[in-house]
Symmetry: C2
Subunit: 251 residues, 2 copies
Amino acid sequence: MGTGEVRIIPIRGIPEAQPGDSVAALVLTGLQASGLTGEPGDVLVVTQKLVSKAEGRLVRLADIEPSPIAEAYAARWERDPRQIELVLRESVRIVRMDRGLIIAETHHGFVCANAGVDLSNVTPGYAALLPLDPDRSAATIRRELCELAGWEPAVIVSDTFGRAWRNGIVNVAIGVAGLRPLRDYRGQHDSYGNELRVTVIAVADELAAAAELVMGKTEGCPAAIIRGFVYEPGEGTARELIMPPERDLFR
Amino acid sequence: MGTGEVRIIPIRGIPEAQPGDSVAALVLTGLQASGLTGEPGDVLVVTQKLVSKAEGRLVRLADIEPSPIAEAYAARWERDPRQIELVLRESVRIVRMDRGLIIAETHHGFVCANAGVDLSNVTPGYAALLPLDPDRSAATIRRELCELAGWEPAVIVSDTFGRAWRNGIVNVAIGVAGLRPLRDYRGQHDSYGNELRVTVIAVADELAAAAELVMGKTEGCPAAIIRGFVYEPGEGTARELIMPPERDLFR
């Protein structure tokens, strides 16, 4: 570990989250079940699904009355009109709506498929919505971990997003606490003396992507520790990871 | 390591690449300098910059005659007209060209800023172009590592790309050998019995992102090993990571 190595450690044995649960307490249960101990400098990555369940962000599809546009779009593309309705309700703007897909801007400002509304890894008949404020969720997890166990990792709440132009989805950070999500090399020089003029790395997204390698989709591992990565501590939020409208060529 | 842990190990001490060098041989020199040994099941991630240098994909800016459009765009946005000219030459289509930026489709099919033409981490006065065929580059590295050292890792050639709607750049896979770049969960079921209908994870991009956490931009560490990740072996290529035009809502 003196070599600059980074470790990605799955946390298994996290109990199924119920509304009102403390994510921090669930993670600590998993740590104990996995025989792990939190260490200073750790980054904890937790899936959106775990957070949404604990925050009661599950909706029973049977309770949803679809609007005419949701009915029409669902019928045209063989989708569930109640899910389409939820997508519209979670959105502030539709970016693309074609071929059965909806790419939407959420009230947080994220642009993603289905505004983050997801029917997988939840009880059948329910849909999971994104946390209302994933940055606040991350901050709460961090604070409670400190209170409960004296462990204060940087915390990332992650979700898998599609990307324009690229196939497949990847895990990204939708909530951040305790680390700077962007590493800004601008003004620094490379080993040739060239000034790095445009290099800002989305380290929080890279950490989320790394964590997904151990979390999987079917294995019930909703959290991971990244150990050995020297992050910049700070009061960053995932909102910094959203392209500012004035610089966005693809709104 | 029996816990499903994944390790990201930087390879330091890789010599500066000269045109005609074997990337595999350079990596093996770095492994030895770092006191590391390749193991079965490893994934090797190598930066585009290292590969481009070894493949002679550096261009002297003084040799480039800018076209009128390159001159005009460079003057308007205070950029180097010779770099703009190289970007146009590396492109088959311009996706967006505004505010000094050029988002282009390269001849490989990648959509990225500046068609991958990059002035950082190269000798001042030169620009690095993407490898002509990064999948072939990855396959060559893999084959030569096997011939030279009996080590046959999966190989990813990586580059940092911007993303629509998100701030900051992240490392992605532009060349792949020996692993399936997409993990397809479609048809599988989650722990609730829901069929996973749309879940295809771009694992090669997540591996590239993970590797960037130890590579950095100023530290001269152009390669990393990812150890402990159980990938699907196969004849995958990074072309699978490009959204097929018929499914692309953002061409």
